[in-house]
């Protein structure tokens, strides 16, 4: 955002490339800043409007800049006065442009949605200065990350994004104690990720004797394998924590249920993408690819993330927690594609590598579209019903018809079924993996079937998950009084969600609209012919499989219309439901989200390890007669339990022990100082 002011003031700035891109990007930064100012200074009543419009304009301008860059108008600028010592370097190329465009569109939806969502409603109000001012800034920082062209600019934007999102996650910390805990988890994970990323990129810059990406790109291929491996491992770890990849995902299912809905959408549909951006930018573009084990590592992390994420989502009962785990899953699928692309690129199968990468990036775009819809619609539900607990929802289709349809479109995309947008990208991913079998030696031959199996099981479980989310949450009868009284959201919220849903429909029926852009981004990393071509029917380069989502949709709609007009055209008579002759059914008898997922939970018992507790209290007179039965089931995150709890416990223990060092005695502190000083002197004397 400081870039915009420097652009305006001119100075010794050096700007080159497409003017449309540059102007739009400057407008995006300026609108973000203006939105922040509006969020700070406007009176409370119109504050959400000002900040929301600022966010939306910033997002729209960002989308224009991104699309222009993807369409072949890259832009770069060097602004020496903006940052001390290094200056800011910005480059919007096709790869960065794709991420900027996606972030921008998500920003528009979230901005429009926020206008109505942040107004006071019942007990909840998000029109405070902090939230309103930081939302546009957060979006601007996210637009800045893919535009950064030097290590210092990149890290600065990355940290701005992290801090911005942290402030937004904490928005409602006064209302709920769980927000504070989620904020703490997020802060620790994101800052640890930043430290690792800082170490990796600083080491890279030191080894390459320069910190601009152009310099890194030149030197990246020539560095020693050890340095390259260390840089990639550090960048991968740092970015994976941002992308919510298992086992670094623990902040995601905590932060998303607590953050405001439009912030969740921004984080889950735009911010996590930038983790993937970091991995592909450094791994493919700057380091120029690497040995097979890098990509096997990426692929394994992706596969683990996809499976674990969707398993947790299958059994989750909180709507936003379910969506958060689904983000883990989808980022895992994207990383499977990225890993396969790296592996195939290493093996020399360029065309297939490009296909896998295209599939990964298309899935990323699709995920952003449907996850925006789902989080925004989930936010509407939580706002209207006062709870996101699926076990207490239901019957929303009659109370909130528009939100129900929009959520249904998003869920269709997320479950990777035909007519949904996720289907096309998963199809491409599977094609890439299937075809890769014979090209790349034993490592590929062993990996690809496993990857296909993981994608397949993930797809199956995703269907079950979203049938549960939609069927239990929106259909049937309300399971609580709150859900019974839910009311449809105001127009601005519906408009923001509908915009994202329209993007889903376009992506589902005409993926060809975005495929040239994705091909441009892929070419930055893997030069070669486009992997996917064709206006209606998708034809793959080097693979003889075709698919045309549009024709499938047309055929299905025609058949449905014919059947509707011939078979079920008669008027219907109302009738009682089958209640086994026991009298009217009550909502207590309905299947809930927990009961819906119970069979799957039982099948995957070993992985999920649910804690169940059954207590039977017998009557005093006889142990055979039961007075009461209590049953409690808890499904925690096992990785969090096994991996993080011991570390946290150890850190706590260390803190307790270290407390003994400082007992308040000044003499002891002076003694510490003396010992430390002497120690340093001795070390210096020995080493020099």
């Amino acid at each position: 955002m400081s870039g915009a002011s420097a652009l305006a003031s001119g100075g010794s700035a050096l700007v080159s490339g497409g003017s449309v891109t540059g102007v739009a990007f400057a407008v995006a930064m300026g609108a973000g800043l203006a939105g922040a100012v509006a969020g700070t200074w406007l009176p409370r009543r119109v504050r959400p409007l000002g900040a929301g419009v600022g966010t939306a304009v910033s997002g729209a301008a960002g989308a224009v800049a991104g699309v222009a860059a993807v369409a072949g108008h890259p832009w770069s600028a060097w602004l020496p006065d903006v940052l001390p010592l290094a200056g800011a370097r910005l480059t919007v190329d096709a790869l960065g442009g794709l991420f900027i465009a996606v972030t921008g569109v998500v920003g528009v939806c979230a901005g429009v949605y926020g206008i109505a969502y942040c107004r006071p409603h019942r007990s909840h109000a998000l029109d405070g200065r902090a939230v309103q001012a930081v939302t546009p800034l957060f979006l601007a920082a996210m637009l800045l990350v893919p535009a950064a062209a030097s290590v210092s600019t990149f890290l600065l934007a990355w940290e701005l994004m992290a801090v911005g999102s942290l402030v937004l996650v904490l928005a409602e910390h006064r209302h709920r104690a769980s927000v504070r805990e989620a904020g703490l988890w997020y802060a620790v994970m994101t800052q640890l990720g930043f430290v690792v990323l800082l170490g990796g990129l600083a080491g890279f810059a030191a080894a390459a004797h320069g910190e601009s990406f152009a310099r890194l790109r030149e030197a990246g291929g020539a560095l020693s394998p050890g340095v390259r491996a260390a840089v990639f491992a550090a960048v991968f770890a740092g970015c994976a924590s941002k992308a919510g990849v298992v086992p670094l995902h623990v902040w995601l299912p905590r932060a998303h249920p607590e953050a405001p809905a439009h912030v969740s959408a921004l984080m889950s549909a735009a911010m996590v993408n930038l983790g993937v951006y970091g991995i592909v930018r450094v791994g493919f573009d700057l380091l120029g690819g690497g040995p097979a084990w890098w990509w096997l590592m990426v692929l394994a992390a992706g596969a683990g993330s996809a499976l674990y994420g969707i398993l947790q989502a299958t059994v989750a009962t909180d709507l936003k927690r379910l969506l958060a785990y689904s983000t883990c899953e989808n980022m895992g699928l994207v990383l499977i594609g990225v890993g396969a692309a790296g592996l195939l690129g290493h093996a020399g199968a360029r065309t297939l590598a490009a296909l896998a990468m295209t599939a990964a990036l298309l899935h990323l775009v699709n995920h952003s579209a449907f996850k925006t819809v789902l989080f925004l619609a989930a936010g509407s539900v939580v706002r209207a019903a006062g709870t996101g607990d699926l076990d207490a929802l239901g019957g929303l289709r009659s109370r909130m018809p528009v939100t129900t349809v929009l959520f249904g479109l998003g869920a269709l995309g997320a479950s990777a079924l035909p007519l949904g947008n996720g289907f096309v990208s998963e199809w491409l991913l599977l094609q890439g993996l299937v075809k890769a079998l014979g090209s790349g030696g034993t490592a590929v031959a062993v990996t690809m079937p496993v990857a296909v199996a993981v994608v397949a099981l993930t797809a199956g479980l995703a269907v079950a998950t979203f049938v549960k989310a939609f069927g239990v949450g929106f259909l049937a009868r309300a399971r609580s009084v709150k859900a019974e009284r839910a009311e449809e959201s105001p127009p601005a919220m519906l408009a923001g969600t509908a915009l994202a849903a329209a993007a889903c429909v376009v992506l589902a029926l005409g993926p060809v609209a975005v495929l040239p852009g994705i091909a441009g981004a892929v070419r930055v990393m893997l030069p070669g012919p486009d992997a996917v071509t064709g206006p209606v029917t998708l034809r793959l380069h080097g693979v003889a499989s075709t698919l045309s989502p549009l024709w499938i949709a047309v055929a299905l709609v025609v058949v449905l219309a014919v059947l509707r007009m011939t078979v079920t055209r008669r008027a219907r008579r109302r009738a009682r439901l089958w209640d086994c002759g026991m009298g009217p059914l009550s909502p207590r008898m309905e299947y809930t989200a927990t009961s819906f997922a119970e069979p799957l939970q039982r099948v995957f018992d070993n992985v999920l390890a649910p804690e169940t507790d059954l207590r039977v209290t017998p009557l005093e007179e006889s142990s055979y007669l039961v007075e009461s039965v209590t049953y409690r089931a808890r499904l925690g995150d096992r990785i969090e339990h096994r991996l993080y709890r011991p570390v946290i416990a150890a850190a706590g223990w260390f803190g307790d022990v270290a407390r003994g060092l400082g007992n308040g005695s000044v003499h002891r502190y002076l003694g510490y100082g003396f010992c430390a000083f002497t120690g340093v002197l001795i070390v210096l004397a020995v080493t020099r």
């Binding site: 990777a416 199956g460 049938v467 259909l475 008579r573 299947y591």
Partner: protein
């Protein structure tokens, strides 16, 4: 888009649409005779459909638009799949629009619609059926895709027409280990997807053991007719697909003359497969719900072995 292909696709839709209730009739008759009953005759499913279609349409209390849409989607996806897959011709104009992945996904779309319809009734049985159906669907998916993987590895394409044509040109491939393992895995998949014994019992009357029937408990009249018809079509299409993936002889390419022959051959193949399935069911009991995942895991292992064989043994 050749005229022969278009005529062939239309013939396929007609054949599946009109013939599938007869297949169900044949299967019931085989079963009845083997159990020592007279049976109601092969035309009984058609008579049932006619009766249901003439009945009044019902809207159970508290159900919404999705409940009414679900039977349409179920039947619609089955009809589209019937037009796409190589049943009588490999030159269907829609063949390039959807490959084997897309066909399985389309069938899954129908299942999902019905599961949502079941949930929409807000009865315990509807939810129970939907939940169980989703478990089977989620666990069948890996086996399907792995079998597709094994079958497409030798062809280099997942297009159904391409797979079938390549088998026609090199019939010895059917006897390869990869193909045989994939055939066994897919057989289990077909049984699970169509809700036959031992995964589900299509003729059960006890709600607690139902999977598919529990979901459709609230449907009546024309809606139920659609559901029954669609189930029969899915059975026909899956059996036909299975037959033509592993024994495609007799299928018409792009020639009109061969088409009637292909239709007859297909009818014979599916009737034989259906008869065998019904005969097998006589000797089998339904598995417990929580033993079904073991069966599906077994078929998954076979599919994985098929993929391994397709890579290492060719």
């Amino acid at each position: 888009m050749t005229p022969a292909g278009t005529v062939g696709a239309a013939a396929q839709v007609l054949l599946v649409g009109a013939g599938s209730p007869l297949l169900v009739g044949v299967m019931r008759q085989v079963r009845a005779r083997m159990e020592g009953r007279a049976g109601a005759g092969v035309w009984q499913p058609w008579r049932d459909l006619r009766k249901l279609l003439r009945k009044e349409a019902i809207a159970p209390d508290g159900t919404g638009p999705l409940f009414r849409l679900a039977p349409l989607v179920l039947a619609g996806t089955a009809l589209v799949v019937a037009a796409v897959v190589p049943i009588a011709t490999t030159a269907s104009p829609l063949d390039g629009s959807a490959d084997l992945f897309a066909v399985t996904a389309l069938l899954a779309l129908g299942t999902v619609a019905l599961a949502l319809g079941g949930l929409d009734t807000a009865t315990a049985f509807g939810g129970m059926g939907a939940s169980r159906e989703m478990v089977v669907l989620a666990l069948v998916e890996p086996t399907i895709l792995m079998s597709v993987f094994a079958l497409s590895a030798r062809v280099g394409s997942t297009d159904l027409g391409a797979i079938v044509t390549s088998t026609l040109h090199r019939p010895e491939l059917v006897a390869s280990p990869a193909s045989l393992l994939a055939a066994v895995a897919l057989a289990v998949v077909v049984i699970a997807e169509t809700g036959r014994l031992p995964v589900d019992n299509p003729s059960t009357h006890l709600e607690l053991t139902m999977i598919h029937e529990a979901m459709v408990l609230e449907y009546a009249g024309p809606d139920l007719a659609l559901v029954e018809w669609a189930s029969a079509m899915r059975l026909t299409v899956l059996l036909g697909l299975f037959a033509n993936l592993f024994a495609p002889w007799g299928i018409a390419g792009a020639s009109l003359v061969m088409l009637p022959v292909a239709v007859v051959v297909f009818t014979v193949k599916v009737a034989l497969l259906g008869g065998a399935l019904a005969a097998g069911e006589v000797f089998m009991a339904k598995l417990r719900m929580f033993r079904v995942p073991e069966l599906l895991a077994g078929s998954f292992v076979l599919a994985v072995l098929a993929v391994a064989a397709s890579f290492f043994l060719v």
